[in-house]
């Protein structure tokens, strides 16, 4: 943030007067944006209210203790506590979560991993909990006696990968899973979320994650509804489906023809990065400059965080949905590090610097997204309660902002659905605004679980071609 540093209030922290400590915070993150329209509408009213809500946190006034950059510490202990509690017994008020319990397993275990906790001790309990949720006809449901769903299956498979171990991996009935995925594959190339359920880009991403982690056969069973359109594999026509979801704004929508939305952008990039290495698949199927323009527009100042759509408010969870797009975009632009550049691979210039403001995002996360009470956990914005979903995705976004991912070696051949080698290192450019104790662990940019957990489950199933 070279330009912003020039406007810094003061270079070193000092107590001036008795009102408030003066921190080194660029004015960009403490004052109104340079251009504001006078016309008031519903959108501008809630936007103004959000600024009023966030500014006391962004300037450090609402925090009892900040570092020299005006940032509170990551309240690690409380967040860990919060996530453990969310995995325990939940009161009746959580009844609406009955169909989405596997999400709690994933959010909490992924969040705990990001906070440096060992989650393997949850292995036995997780295995026994998810076993009754698997259906004989394939896939995992939200709970016992419910219908299998791609989102809950995705969450369950990732949770099993997180706790790791052969016994956990073996819970999955791979043959039934494959048959079920074939039955969800649609003639237009995409996936339904459940039999008779909606079809959207989430389905494309969840299915590709499941297929590539479990090393499922890519052939399509002849009774799949997609066969009628001439598809022969689980991945045929999938990238084309994703392409049709890019909108005139450059972002990605749930399904072709609706509004661009941050969560779907991540799903689209994740899906394409599984179908082939990101530097090949992403530019081949998406208009990358337009997508980058839209993604970049999601970041607001002074808030520093991301919004999910044009003219919507910042929300902590987009730290992941939008923030998590950047490593994939950078891989798409930069290609494999050091490899002989194939001009066809990345026709666009490399991104030498970060495309987004990492500092802005880190500021929003540490100052606005942490629950201030004993409860702990992370939240959308200061006026909202913390929950497991936001805790997981805010931490994942924090991790992406604190680290730099590089694609080292691409998979040997584009027909293989795994094998890209990524490395990660702390992001070192410029002055670091957070203290080293506030650094979180890393998660794989595509699978959003630690990198070695991805490698372990993939190598376990690599030995099982077929069933």
């Amino acid at each position: 943030m070279a330009a912003a540093t020039a406007q810094t209030w003061s270079d070193s922290p000092s107590q001036v007067g008795s009102d408030a400590p003066e921190y080194s915070i660029p004015s960009l993150f403490t004052s109104d944006p340079p251009i504001r329209d006078t016309l008031e509408t519903g959108s501008s009213r809630v936007q103004d209210a959000t600024l009023d809500e966030c500014l006391p946190f962004l300037t450090g006034y609402q925090h009892s203790e900040c570092n020299a950059h005006g940032l509170p510490h990551l309240d690690r202990g409380r967040h860990i506590n919060f996530l453990h509690k969310q995995l325990g017994k939940l009161p009746g008020a959580f009844t609406s979560a009955d169909p989405s319990r596997p999400w709690f397993f994933y959010w909490c275990l992924a969040g705990l991993s990001l906070l440096g906790e060992d989650v393997a001790p949850y292995r036995e309990r997780l295995i026994e909990t998810v076993r009754p949720m698997q259906n004989a006809l394939g896939g995992f449901a939200g709970g016992f006696g419910q219908t299998s769903h791609l989102a809950t299956t995705y969450a369950t498979v990732l949770a099993l990968a997180l706790v790791g171990g052969d016994e956990a991996y073996d819970v999955v009935d791979r043959r039934a899973m494959w048959r079920w995925l074939c039955s969800l594959k649609q003639p237009d190339g995409g996936f339904q979320m459940a039999l008779g359920g909606e079809e959207d880009v989430r389905g494309a991403y969840c299915a590709s994650v499941i297929i590539s982690l479990l090393n499922l056969p890519l052939d399509l069973s002849p009774d799949s509804p997609a066969c009628s359109a001439g598809h022969t594999g689980l991945f045929t026509g999938l990238a084309e489906y994703v392409r049709r979801c890019q909108t005139y704004e450059g972002g990605v929508s749930a399904k072709p023809g609706v509004e661009a939305h941050g969560a779907y952008a991540f799903c689209a990039l994740g899906c394409l990065s599984i179908i082939d290495s990101p530097h090949r698949a992403i530019p081949r199927y998406l208009d990358v400059p337009l997508l980058i323009s839209w993604l970049s527009s999601r970041q607001y100042a002074p808030e520093g965080g991301f919004s999910g759509r044009t003219n919507k408010l910042v929300d902590g969870c987009y730290s992941h949905w939008v923030g998590g797009c950047w490593p994939l975009i950078e891989a798409a632009l930069n290609g494999p590090r050091g490899a002989a550049a194939n001009p066809g691979d990345h026709p666009l210039p490399r991104a030498m610097e970060s495309l987004s403001s990492r500092d802005g995002l880190i500021r929003y996360i540490l100052s606005c997204c942490q629950d201030q009470s004993r409860r702990g956990g992370m939240r959308d914005k200061p006026s909202k309660y913390s929950d497991a979903y936001h805790t997981c995705y805010v931490l994942s976004g924090l991790s992406a902002a604190q680290h730099k991912w590089d694609l080292v070696t691409p998979r040997a051949h584009e027909s293989i659905v795994a094998g890209d080698v990524w490395t990660v290192s702390p992001y070192m450019e410029g002055e670091q605004i957070f203290d080293e104790e506030d650094r979180v662990c890393t998660v794989h940019p595509v699978y959003v679980i630690p990198q070695h957990k991805v490698e372990e489950i993939q190598s376990y199933f690599a030995t099982k071609s077929g069933f």
Binding site: D37, C108, F144, G197, E198, G257, V258, N311
Partner: protein, 532 residues
């Protein structure tokens, strides 16, 4: 179901005001005062529909009895002419001017019915599985009145809720104790009406003789299960019966009631919705009834999205049934749009509502000026409503009569008329003028230019209004999006230096949080120079 029409005309062929905009129920359910004197009073609504069918299809009864060849020449003529009225009116059968004059003269002279009712209208079934067609006209009227009464109460109920919410935020008047008393009574009446209409489950299932034969399947979670929820007893009971009937693949009226029971406690339960749709299709229940019921559920669960997939399944299922009946489809499109408008009044950017609206436009071909108008209203209400802008883009550029199927959203589509491109450019520019820092119309403008294959330079003058003295001391920028677009305009013109200046000023002053992006854009300019 909408209230009945109360026409009082006794003319043999009353010309309805909007012949193509009638709901199927209305078509088959004209007021009894129109019954021809010679017909006996019908016992059921099906019989009444049948009488009306024969009355609006002269000679049909005779033809069924004696066959086409058995008709007298005069009857044959009437029969044929009756069948030709719609095709001729819609110009599916081209006639010479003279023949057409003759045709209409005959139609008028004979008093042939202009509007003909379809045969064998299916009324669907009610909540207990009874065919609504077997209702007596009186019973049907009672049912309709109950629906109307319930709807009215629900509106008052919602008013109460929003008043209470405003009061809690100290933005409105206090809720008086009278208001609360009234609301209590209202809820009792609503519960009674719902029981009558839908047979809603209120007590425990274990004590209900209707469920005696079902052995519930309880959850039976292992000790120490993760994220275990302490379900309320009634919910735990209901879902254990749900598992049992689903395992037995039972599709019956009591299962339908059970799904409603579970949905009332947990509308996020996607499985129960999918099961409910299955029951409806197996029992062939009335789709308009289901939609009426669904509207109430949707209004009290604004954030829920299973509702919208259910609605889409209902439409996919219903559409082939009504495909041939333009009037029915138009009425349906209108009532769906009205409901969507109600939902958007609660949350104008609800993603699921907009997605459903987009689906509906494609499914029922709602590429109409009124759809465009009602989308425009939402833009007029809040020019920053990007969902409405996105829907407008879809409406304008995916209309099959004026666009190329499969044309991508950023592709030039030569089939879109120039006048449309001009109109949309003008619209976006008008809206930009209201609030230049609003990104929605800027994105829209770029999208329109791409669709029209127009050069960005065509809007250069317009964009420059928002930027002056760039790079100088008196520099003034009233829209960072204008500066962004201007960089693209200059790049297109080959003026890389000026483009770079725009990007530099964005980075330094006008949108510095996006510094990294603006710098990358500058490297894209280099690429353009190298490849040029």
């Amino acid at each position: 179901m909408p209230p009945k029409s109360k026409g009082s005309s006794k003319a043999p062929n009353p010309e309805p005001k909007e012949p193509l905009h009638l709901h199927p129920n209305l078509i088959a359910d004209l007021s009894p005062s129109q019954a021809a004197p010679e017909s006996p009073l019908p016992q059921t609504v099906s019989l009444r529909s049948e009488q009306r069918f024969f009355r609006t299809n002269p000679c049909e009864k005779r033809r069924q009895d004696v066959g086409l060849s058995g008709l007298t020449p005069a009857e044959k003529k009437t029969y044929t002419y009756t069948h030709l009225i719609l095709p001729v009116a819609n110009r599916h059968v081209p006639l010479s001017n003279k023949a057409e004059r003759e045709f209409w003269k005959h139609v008028t002279k004979e008093g042939l019915p202009i509007r003909r009712l379809p045969a064998n209208y299916s009324w669907g079934k009610d909540r207990s599985g009874r065919d609504i067609g077997t209702y007596s006209p009186d019973e049907l009227e009672q049912r309709t009145l109950k629906h109307a009464r319930l709807t009215a109460l629900q509106i008052q109920h919602r008013q109460f809720l929003s008043k209470r919410e405003l009061a809690a935020k100290k933005q409105g008047a206090e809720v008086s104790s009278e208001d609360i008393e009234e609301e209590k009574k209202r809820r009792q009446t609503m519960a009674a009406l719902k029981r009558d209409l839908y047979g809603e489950i209120t007590g425990t299932l274990a004590k209900d003789p209707e469920w005696d034969d079902v052995i519930p399947i309880p959850q039976d979670e292992p000790e120490g299960a993760l994220a275990q929820i302490a379900y309320p007893d009634d919910y735990a009971e209901a879902v254990s019966y749900l598992r049992a009937v689903m395992a037995a693949d039972e599709c019956s009226p009591r299962c339908l009631r059970l799904t409603e029971h579970v949905i009332s406690m947990n509308p996020a339960h996607y499985t129960v919705w999918l099961y409910r749709f299955k029951i409806i299709s197996v029992l062939k229940l009335s789709i308009p009834d289901e939609i009426t019921w669904l509207n109430q559920v949707a209004l009290s669960n604004l954030k829920n999205y299973q509702i919208w997939n259910h609605r889409q399944l209902l439409m996919d299922y219903y559409y082939p049934v009504i495909e041939e009946e333009t009037a029915v489809i138009r009425t349906l499109a209108r009532s769906e749009t009205a409901f969507i408008t109600t939902m958007l009044a609660e949350d104008a950017k609800n993603y699921h509502v907009w997605s459903y609206r987009q689906y509906l436009v494609g499914k029922l071909s709602v590429w109409t000026s009124s759809e465009l108008g009602s989308t425009q209203n939402l833009i007029e209400d809040d020019v920053r409503n990007n969902s409405a802008w996105s829907h407008r883009f879809y409406l304008v550029f995916s209309d099959p009569t004026d666009s190329t199927a499969g044309s991508g959203p950023t592709e030039h589509d030569p089939k879109v008329p120039d006048s449309t491109i001009d109109r949309e450019i003008k619209y976006a520019q008008e809206k930009i003028a209201l609030a230049p820092q609003n990104q929605s119309p800027w994105n829209y403008l770029l999208g329109v230019l791409a669709k029209g294959g127009r050069k960005l330079a065509t809007v250069q003058e317009f964009v420059e209004q928002y930027v002056s003295a760039l790079g100088e001391e008196m520099e003034e920028v009233t829209s960072s999006h204008a500066l962004d677009l201007l960089a693209k305009v200059y790049q297109e013109n080959g003026d890389t230096e000026k483009a770079a200046l725009c990007l530099r000023r964005l980075s330094e002053k006008w949108d510095p949080v996006r510094e990294g992006y603006w710098k990358y854009r500058a490297t894209l300019l280099q690429g353009a120079v190298e490849s040029a």
